[in-house]
């Protein structure tokens, strides 16, 4: 599960940071408004930014040859959008599109990297928060791979009494 209750700063991902760290990070934030249907980034492009969603919903999709774009997850207020900027090869492994009008804090990854290098305690906190988000999404993905609601038996792994 992605931690994303609420919307404004102080909730969701940002709530997990100490006030002082949050303040320093937010000094780098840019308030952006994206209309519904905006392609925010594409698979394979350079991941040089990330966002914390304040309101609205973003769909993460992957291109499937012959099937077009397949949405694999939607995320909402308080969520971190994008973590590919954190580790090499720093390329988006999914694409993102707004489902409805989205307000978000946008962060320049290079500036955040510099801030983390300068303030290592903040860096550790931020990486921990991002790792939690990645962990939540991994758990959610694994749960969905179980095909829980599908037919029980050999094809699916639905509940068996």
């Amino acid at each position: 599960m992605t931690p994303h209750p609420g919307g404004p700063p102080g909730e969701g991902v940002l709530a997990a940071l100490a006030a002082e760290h949050r303040g320093r990070l937010m000094a780098l934030a840019r308030d952006v408004a994206l209309p519904g249907g905006t392609r925010i980034f594409e698979e394979g492009e350079k991941a040089d930014r990330f966002w914390i969603i304040r309101s609205g919903t973003v769909a993460l999709d992957v291109h499937m040859p012959g099937r077009g774009r397949v949405v694999v997850e939607t995320i909402g207020a308080g969520s971190l959008l994008g973590w590919s900027w954190l580790c090499p090869p720093r390329q988006w492994h999914l694409a993102a599109e707004t489902r409805d009008p989205v307000r978000a804090w946008e962060f320049d990854a290079a500036a955040v990297h510099d801030l983390c290098a300068e303030d290592t305690a903040l860096g550790l906190s931020l990486v921990t928060v991002v790792a939690e988000t990645i962990g939540d999404r991994l758990r959610a993905t694994r749960t969905r791979l179980l095909d829980l609601y599908g037919p029980p038996g050999p094809q699916g792994s639905g509940p068996v009494p």
Binding site: T2, P5, E73, L146, D147, Y149, G153, G158
Partner: protein
Amino acid sequence: MTLTPLSYRVVDRRDETHDTVTLVLDPAADALKPFAPGQFAMLYAFGVGEIPVSVSRLADGHRLTHTVRAVGAVSRALCGLRIGGWVGVRGPFGTAWDSAAAHGNDLLVIAGGIGLAPLRPLVDAVMAEPHAFGRLNVLAGSRTPADLLYQDEFPAWEKPFAAVTVDRPANGWTGRVGVVTTLLHEARFTPSDTVAFVCGPEVMMRATARALIHQGVRPDRIRVSLERNMRCATGHCGHCQLGPLLLCRDGPVVGYDQAEPLLTVREL
């Protein structure tokens, strides 16, 4: 009364999804005692067998409504019944969603797949008595949009709050994609004053309960419905045993404080 099935006739049927049917049953003569939300009946498909199925709507009088997903011989036979067909019914069995214990609290009704069926009578009951409760939230997870039950009832549930998420979106689906716990951030509830009613596959109930506890809901305020193979439904045969519980009698609805240690051991 609970040992011998009474004859009920199918007076209405409705295809909910490609593999799920709602049957409305009226007693042929004698009727069973009234059911409470969360309780179940043993439905006997003549010549095939008997399975436990929860009530999915409570009506005045002796009418029973059940929503059945076809997974095997008996459930397929029940789903294949037409209006005028006959079913043997025993019940009511088991514990109920104790909505009275939630009076004055916010409510989370969280369903996965067919788990929405046993929860629907609870939603009906809460909506009939809105002032007795805080805010109602109905959150449902479904495999695909086409597998979602009771689609035409969601607009009424949206008035309090309802949200749906699917594992696999079909073309044209513009709703949420992801596990049901991701809907919690949209729900309107104060964790310390909330009672949650959760029904679905066990892994889903475990993940949901953990997310709720993480957000501050007390384990004893999280109710889950546990399913096990049932035969007698009267607490005698032992088929439904889970640790110290006989789920036909002590369940299916139990508090997560009681369920958690039983759900996380490999075998009992």
